[in-house]
Symmetry: C2
Subunit: 205 residues, 2 copies
DNA sequence: CCAGAGTGGGTGAGCGTTCACTCACCCGTC
DNA sequence: GACGGGTGAGTGAACGCTCACCCACTCTGG
C-alpha cells in the first residue's frame, strides 16, 4: 500500500466524479478504485456527503494565488501579457473544476452544504472575478488602464469567457477545440483591452 | 384534469429538476407532481432517461432566434444598444437553463445522450456564441465595428460573462445580486465596445 | 342499429436491483 | 490489553420499471 487510505479515497472520489459523474460515483465504486472496503470509507468519513464535501474542499484547484500575486506585484510585464497569462490559467482552472462544480446542481442539498462551507471560508465562485477586479483597479490606479474603465465588467468578461469555454466546447470531445488555449487567451486579452468599436478617428470612412 | 398528461409530466419534471435537482427527481416524485401514477409515465416515455431528454429538448429556452433576427436586420439601433439587449436576454437565458444543463455533469451517460441529440439537431451550447459571432461579423462588414475586431473573442467575452453570472452568484441567494441585470448588461456592452486600455492619445499623461 | 373487438390512457401492487450504511469481528502496534 | 485501521456479510430503504388489469371510447360487420 502506498499513500494513506484517506488520501487514496479522496483521490479516487475526485477521479470518479470527474469521469463518470457525481450520481454514478457510488460507495462501492469509490472503494474499488481506492482499493479498500466500503466499510473503510466510514472509518475516515462520517457519510458519503461529508466525503464529497472534503473532496470539494481539498481537491479543487484555486485561482486566487495568481491573482493576488499580480495585484501585489504587477511585475514588468505589460497589462496585455498579464491578462493573457490570467486567461490561460483561468481556462485550465475552469476546465478542471467546472465539471465537478456543475454536477452539484444535480444534488441541491449537497450544493447547499458546499455553498455554506464556502461562505464560511469567505470564498466561492465569485472570488476569482473579485480578485481580477482588484488587480485591474490597481492597474487603473497605476495609470496602465483607462481611467473610465469598468473593472468589474472587464473582470466578468474575461473570466466568463474562460469558464464558458469549459462547458460550451466539451460536448465536442473528440474533435479538436475551436482554438488552441494560448491563442484563445491572447485573443481575449487583446479584444478586452482594445474594444471592438470603430475608432473615433475612423468614423469618416 | 386540465392539460394532457404528457404536458403535465414534462412540466412537473422540468420544475423538479430546477428545484430539487436531477438526482432527487425520481419517478415517484414526478408522478406525484404531475398528479398521475408512476406507471403512467411509462405510457408516454420509454424510460426515465428518455423523459429527461424530452424535457431538455422541449422545455429549455433558446437564444438563437434573437441573434438571427439581429443578424438578418440590425435595425436602426446602435451596436451598443443591440449588444446590451443581447446581454440582457442572455443573462435571463442562462439563469434559466444553466442549473439544469449543469446538472447533466452528474450523469455523464445522460449528458452524452443529450449531447448526441443536440448534435443531430445541429445545435449545442456553442451555438449562441457562433450566432453572436455571425452578428458581429455582419456589423463589421457594415462598418459599425472595427475592421480589426476579433468577433469570436468578442462573442465569447460577452456571452461568457452572462453565463458566468448565472452560477457565480446563485450561491448568494437571499442577498441581492451585485448589480441589477440592466446595469450589468449595459456595462458589459460598453466595456466590450470601448476596451479598457488607456487611449493612445492619452499615453503622454 | 348495435354487440363486441380493439385501442389509448390509466391504475395498484410488487418485482429485482442497487444504494448508503452498520455490525461483529480481526490484527498489528504501543 | 486498548486501540486505530481494516474487513465480509449483511440491512432496510429507495429506486426504475413491469405486470395484470381497468375503463371509456371508436370502429366495424351482421
Amino acid at each position: 500500500m502506498q499513500k494513506p487510505a484517506r488520501e487514496r479515497i479522496l483521490d479516487a472520489s475526485h477521479e470518479l466524479m470527474r469521469t463518470i459523474g457525481l450520481a454514478r460515483t457510488t460507495t462501492k465504486e469509490i472503494a474499488r478504485a481506492a482499493d479498500c472496503s466500503e466499510a473503510a470509507l466510514y472509518k475516515h468519513f462520517a457519510s458519503k456527503e461529508e466525503l464529497f464535501v472534503a473532496v470539494l474542499k481539498e481537491r479543487l484547484p484555486e485561482l486566487g494565488p495568481l491573482l493576488h500575486r499580480l495585484t501585489a506585484d504587477p511585475g514588468d510585464r505589460s497589462v496585455e501579457e498579464n491578462l493573457t497569462e490570467i486567461a490561460r490559467q483561468a481556462v485550465h482552472f475552469y476546465a478542471e473544476s467546472f465539471p465537478i462544480a456543475a454536477s452539484l446542481y444535480a444534488e441541491t442539498r449537497l450544493k447547499r452544504r458546499h455553498d455554506d462551507s464556502m461562505r464560511e471560508m469567505g470564498t466561492g465562485p465569485h472570488t476569482p472575478i473579485e480578485g481580477l477586479d482588484t488587480y485591474l483597479r490597481s492597474e487603473r490606479e497605476a495609470g496602465r488602464v483607462s481611467p473610465g474603465a469598468d473593472t468589474f465588467a472587464a473582470a466578468s468578461l474575461l473570466l466568463g469567457a474562460c469558464a464558458q469555454r469549459a462547458f460550451a466546447y466539451d460536448s465536442t470531445i473528440g474533435k479538436e477545440p475551436p482554438q488552441p488555449v494560448d491563442e484563445f487567451a491572447a485573443a481575449l486579452a487583446r479584444t478586452l483591452l482594445n474594444g471592438i468599436s470603430r475608432p473615433a478617428s475612423d468614423r469618416s470612412r
